[in-house]
């Protein structure tokens, strides 16, 4: 029986040969350009332009959703096409194993200025070498309209699978945080999740689905909450409502007594980048206090900066929206995304798909 691993070489060559459609940004080889594969928050001109002006460089940004999409873009590209990668922190080990991230000098990064809980050395380093640095973090918890629900109810996660707010709830459509948050809700530790835990989680997910009005992505969830279609978004957090705090002060978020899930995004330099110095400079800018304040409040979504010194560059209103003062308590009462092997990952996605098909 033929058995061959194809994730890197053959698949990439076939895709290149057959599709011949390059996803490369324009001018990938120009000397004064940097190519970055990023999340949408990095596409805010207010974040990137100061770096471009200061370094006389054009940063070409390619936005993606989901690590799978990023991997497929990378596999269809040539080595050296990309310089900087922004990636879900839980997927950094996957990127390191794929040998796409290069080592960054620890002494040139403000690692000691990061909130200790989000430094995540276990995932961003390997063999004592730094491959990525956490740049932003937040929570998958509960966002709500405080004029329509009793804020006291939001302090108990079990309310989202009770009938009290039936038909007024949206679930965030991403299996990883939803499975993790449900696990937290029923008293399980995300770090210890096993396949044996999934039936109990599935049962709660089904209950949640029964009382939910919809399951939606970021835009649709935010729209539903802002327009009053729903009053609660399970899986939401500061990233969903903090950016709207000025126009929609009725929208709020909290971490219930059971806790919440903490997400983080990391940034690193591609191993094959031909502009290692410039790419590192970009990473340094993003994790600097100024860059962090801009990233935390970028147009796409707001969330906490990983660098604790960014607070000096945020306004009081911004800090209030981000719950700056409550971070010690929130960090303590939140758990990381489940770090799953491929089989567990597939099983979690399966129960989420089953939930959606209920």
């Amino acid at each position: 029986m033929m058995k061959r691993t194809v994730s890197g070489g053959f698949a990439r060559r076939m895709l290149l040969a057959t599709a011949a459609v390059s996803l490369l940004p324009a001018g990938a080889s120009a000397q004064d350009e940097l190519n970055a594969l990023v999340w949408c928050d990095h596409t805010d001109p207010a974040l990137v332009e100061p770096f471009e002006k200061a370094n006389n460089v054009k940063v070409n940004l390619k936005e993606y959703e989901g690590t799978g999409a990023a991997i497929s873009i990378i596999e269809q590209s040539r080595p050296g096409d990309w310089d900087v990668l922004v990636i879900d922190a839980v997927d950094v080990p996957r990127a390191i194993d794929m040998d796409i991230l290069g080592e960054m000098p620890a002494d040139k990064l403000p690692l000691n200025d990061l909130f200790p809980e989000v430094r995540m050395d276990a995932t961003t380093t390997k063999g004592g070498k730094v491959y990525a640095v956490t740049e932003k973090f937040g929570y998958n918890t509960i966002s709500y309209d405080k004029t329509k629900v009793d804020p006291a109810d939001m302090e108990d996660l079990s309310v989202v699978w009770s009938d009290k707010y039936k038909g007024r709830i949206a679930l965030y459509d991403y299996y990883l945080p939803m499975v993790g948050l449900t696990a937290v809700g029923i008293g399980k530790k995300t770090a210890d999740l096993k396949q044996d835990d999934l039936p109990a989680i599935k049962e709660k997910l089904f209950e949640m689905k029964k009382v939910a009005r919809q399951v939606s992505d970021v835009v649709a969830s935010q729209t539903a909450l802002a327009t009053g279609e729903v009053d609660i978004v399970v899986g939401g957090g500061e990233w969903l409502t903090a950016g709207l705090s000025a126009e929609k002060p009725n929208l709020d978020w909290t971490i219930p007594k059971q806790g919440a899930l903490r997400w983080a995004q990391s940034i690193g330099v591609f191993k094959d980048s031909e502009k290692q110095d410039l790419a590192l400079k970009f990473v340094q800018y993003i994790v600097s206090p100024e860059g962090q304040a801009r990233l935390a409040t970028s147009a796409c979504y707001w969330a906490m900066p990983a660098n604790a010194k960014a607070g000096a560059h945020l306004t009081d209103q911004q800090k209030t929206a981000l719950r700056w003062d409550k971070q010690p308590e929130y960090l303590k009462n939140s758990q990381l995304y489940p770090v799953a092997d491929a089989d567990m990952d597939a099983a979690m996605q399966d129960i989420w798909t089953e939930t959606l098909q209920q």
């Binding site: 033929m2 994730s7 057959t18 989901g66 690590t67 799978g68 729209t223 491929a342 597939a346």
Partner: protein
């Protein structure tokens, strides 16, 4: 002999003209399709895609209820949309072809296809706002006192069907209209001479003669509707998944291309069966 040489030259010319299209189709459709078909028999082990020939992905499709349900939901929605679109598009096309003066028909058609000029995604999000609890439709119904509570018109199958029907009524109107204006008025005159009233003329003469236009439009509606995931994603509220949404789920984070390819191939088989049925029917109509 001269005629044969001429024929050969003509044949070469025909091939020369067809070659770019053939190359294009071969390179951008057939080869990628063959590749996709091949990887649908591969598997994902751990984080790796492994070229080990197996039916596992197809077994999973038929074995896991949430995968198979995706196909069932897709077929149900597509059938509903196709039927409703035909029922709405036929009268519209007939009015434009038969009741609107010739000089205004072009304007009427432009008005009918005006929604096509906007982005598909933007149009779907616009429908979300129109159909929402605080949207125009519910506000109007509440104001008129027709309903006491807002209707649930979005985040469910109703929303998905409305979004699809809006799009496909326009498409079907065009194919049916194109068929209607080609009908010679002599058919109707002959029917009238033979004593048929207006309804009998329509039912026994006009409708059968316009069935090819309906079938072509219905097939296009079927193909486009069953392969779409944007409208169900935005207007359906993810309260049930169509097969294209299930396919997208395989790719999002996990990049499970073999499973996604297998599901895509299943979808393609369904579309091919629909095409064969449609083509056979049209062929039977012609003979």
């Amino acid at each position: 002999m001269a005629a044969t040489a001429l024929e050969r030259t003509e044949r070469r010319k025909a091939w020369a003209f067809a070659l770019p299209a053939l190359l294009w189709t071969g390179f951008f459709f057939l080869v990628p399709f063959a590749y996709m078909a091949a990887i649908s028999f591969w598997t994902r082990q751990g984080r790796e895609i492994v070229a080990t020939w197996t039916l596992d992905n197809y077994v999973a499709f038929f074995g896991k209820a949430h995968f198979f349900k995706g196909l069932v939901v897709s077929l149900e929605i597509t059938a509903t949309v196709t039927v409703i679109s035909i029922l709405l598009a036929y009268p519209l096309a007939w009015i434009i072809a038969e009741r609107v003066p010739k000089k205004w028909q072009r304007v009427a058609l432009i008005m009918a296809i005006l929604p096509f000029w906007t982005s598909y995604v933007v149009r779907s999000y616009s429908w979300l706002l129109v159909l929402s609890k605080g949207g125009v439709v519910n506000q109007a119904l509440l104001w008129l006192g027709i309903v006491a509570e807002p209707l649930e018109l979005s985040a469910n199958r109703t929303g998905t069907v409305i979004g699809f029907v809006h799009f496909f009524v326009m498409l079907l109107t065009l194919t049916i209209y194109a068929n209607l204006i080609q009908l010679s008025p002599n058919y109707r005159r002959a029917a009238a001479d033979l004593g048929a009233n207006a309804f009998q003329t329509f039912w026994f003469v006009v409708l059968p003669l316009t069935l090819p236009g309906i079938m072509v439009g219905a097939f296009l509606t079927f193909v486009l509707c069953i392969g779409d995931y944007i409208t169900p994603q935005i207007l359906g509220g993810n309260n049930e998944l169509v097969l294209p949404q299930v396919i997208m789920l395989q790719l999002g984070r996990r990049a499970d291309f073999p499973m996604a390819a297998a599901l895509s191939l299943v979808l393609m088989v369904v579309v091919t069966l629909a095409y064969i049925a449609c083509a056979r029917w049209l062929k039977m109509e012609r003979t």
